[in-house]
């Protein structure tokens, strides 16, 4: 198993989780899989970070959890986005985009004459 390629920026994991959960209620395993799939194996979230993060977000009221039957028929804990969580996600996305734009502008700026 390759080591995670990139150290996640602090606070980014929360945003990614919120984004994944926004697609629909999902359980922890699903979230981990999706994170990997969506990012083309770029992010590999360790369970040691994922579950504390999920519980933290639930504690803050951004996620809500529910025990439901999963696709395999076993009961699993499904997380879904709360209204507060969605607001938080939108705010964070906007913030992230602004940051990207700014960095992009900076990088695209004409370099020094050479």
């Amino acid at each position: 198993m390759p080591e995670p390629k990139t150290e996640l920026l602090r606070g980014t994991l929360d945003l990614l989780i919120l984004k994944v959960v926004a697609l629909g209620p999902s359980h922890g395993y699903e979230i981990a899989q999706r994170l990997r799939q969506i990012s083309n194996d770029f992010f590999q979230i360790h369970q040691g970070s994922l579950y504390p993060a999920l519980h933290r977000l639930e504690d803050r009221g951004w996620l809500q959890a529910e025990w439901k039957e999963s696709e395999t028929g076993r009961e699993a804990k499904f997380y879904s986005l709360t209204r507060k969580g969605r607001r938080q996600m939108d705010a964070e996305v906007a913030e992230w985009e602004r940051l990207c734009d700014a960095v992009g502008l900076f990088l695209r700026a004409p370099g020094e004459e050479s």
């Binding site: 922890g28 395993y29 360790h46 369970q47 040691g48 579950y51 519980h55 025990w67 076993r74 699993a76």
Partner: protein, 776 residues
Amino acid sequence: MTWIRRALHKSQAEKSLDKELQFHLDRQIADYIAAGMPPEEARRRARLEFGGLDRVKEEVRDTRWEMHLDNLFRDFRYAFRGIKRDRRFAFIAILALALGIGASTVAFSAFYNLLFSAFAAKDANRLVVFSLQNAEKGVLPELNLTPLGGSLSDVDAIRSQSQVFEEIVGYHRGITLLRDGNDIHQVYTTSVTSNAFDFYGVPPLLGRGITPADGMAKSSTVFVMSYKTWKGEFHSDPAILGKSFLVDDTPRTLIGIMPPRFQAYGALVQIWTPITGSSDTNGANPAMSVDTMMARLKPGVTLETASADLDVIVKSLAKNHQNNFPKHFSARVLSATDFMMGPYGIGSAGGPETQHFDIKRMLYALLAGAIILLLIACSNVANLLLARATVREKEIAVRTALGATRSRLIQQLIVESFTLASGACVLGCIFAYGGMKGVTALIPAKGASIGGEAVVGLDWRILLFALVVTALTTILCGLAPALHTVRRDLQPSLAGSDRAANATFRRGRLRAGIVIGEVALCILLLTGAGLMMRSFFLLTHIDLGFNMDHLLFVAFDNPHGEGDGPGQAAIYLQKIVERLKALPGVSDVAINNSLPGYNPGVRHEVSVPGSSYVERVGMDGCSEKSPSGSGLAVDKWELAHRGRRHRSSSSRGDQSNHGSALFRWRGSSGPAIHGQSDGNKRPRTPGRGLSSNWRSPRCEGFWSTGSGDPDGLRSTHCDRRPAWWRRRPVYKDKSGSGVADACGEGRGLDVRSRSNLFPAIWSLRGHLLLAHVLCA
């Protein structure tokens, strides 16, 4: 072993977490198998990837507050177990802390209730009392600060001219007889301007208070009684409301009983009467005067501003009545608390036995002492905990190795000290409850100069203080072992070796620091306490220079102006002496102008003619018999006697030489000297050194006797009275004739007959008041 079962029983949240993580793991394994991995390999791989299940759980737990609560709960349980296991330690630690917390709670209660909640009045923190500072040279400033008295027109003038006072009231205190049929009660009384009860704003318990309407009448016919008097002397009988009593030979109706927490205008007051013809009324009698004025500052006005304002007004008033004011003075306001309990303490009880103490400073000292005691207890317990931490080093090392973080360890230690401190808090509050009973019992009921309104007891503020102290104690005690724990090297303790010399050294420094601090505090406290006890011992064992056994002290006033005018005083006093002498059981009577040894008059400079040596002394006017009447020991009496003889032989024909003086001189071997008091520029022939042991608590004194009349009554120096006598409004005592006290000697009386003596004395006349047993 229920705790084990409880520990094994997992909470709902824990179960749910287990299930969630297990689900994840199983799915991973299933996926790997589906991808074609052999089941065994799949399981291994999934587990490897997942990492330590317990570590993940621990991290998840840390994100949830329930878990913190759970941890806290566990720590408490653990702490209790620790206490149970080591009961001796817990007992000592809790007892030590409880003493500290209890003592500081009692001290704080006294401090808070006396200094910050002393008055039941509304807006009590804005109450001030007017005072007059005599700025003339040669007098101690604190002895020369007197309440500002004046006529009612003065009160009105200040009220109309000042900008800083919301309202002003005036009052004067006295002692009178309250007659109820055949019962006679001697009571402290205060006459108040009729706005005084509205000013104070405390509703009466029964009936009504004094209202402005009561001041309108030509003569006042009502009075209000204090709760203590009502309860103590009238057995809380509600039927006495509306009854008529003879107060100072005037019939008055009792209109109200005040609640327990109302002791306005004098800490000992038992009844209040209105001054008739108060301000703003047609029947005003502007000549009526008061001996104290109290006011409420407007919000936001400082004492300095008010003092400046008052000074201007009073100085302009003084121009019209120069006789009533010292040559140089300044008027200022004192906060009511300072007036009652501050360094000047001039407002205290009111009465001949008034003494002032600087209660304020005393309370600060008490609080400081209690806090030092608490600190000592804390450092003691910290040391015990530290010693215990050393023993527990291994346990803590194991916990650390198992992954306990520093914050968890510190939390646990703090919880342990908090458990001890809480136990101590409960016990301390019980101590405090008992202690406060003791403190309240120590406050003398009579002659107390402590605010009569203050209630020293436990209320929510005091309990809050105890809680805050407990929290501080927790931190103080828990900090040392916690620091010790987290700074330590893990390995040697785990190994159980004694290689930890280095660690021991560091720990040794911490412990030594605590011990040094503790010993220093102990010495501080013990020295202070020792000095205080020594002073207390000296005060209680002071040699007054005379035998106080079977000595009664009777103070009396002259409300009817009898004996006024030149030459009348001696006759009047003589009459009183005769009547006192006639009482059964009285063997001798002498006149003294104050309680012997207390309140000596203004300081005089005494010099010996032909010598440059000058000594300042206080002067106490008395009849010649006074020293013997006071039961002076024989040798001293001899000296006194000789002094008198000396005078007798020399003064008869020589008009310039009136009066003799009995000196307390330095050492008993002082020569017979001629002294001169320049207080009233009268040369005096001295007695010999009276007694080397004579020590007045306030200042060294000498007795002065008059001449010309056989008992020396004429020139008892009433003109040199303490200011509160002089400014008394009802008695015209400019000639100094009106007030004097008598010392009577009743040798051979038993206590019962002595108490029978009081009614006999009271029945002499309404103006013979306050029979007081001097050191029974």
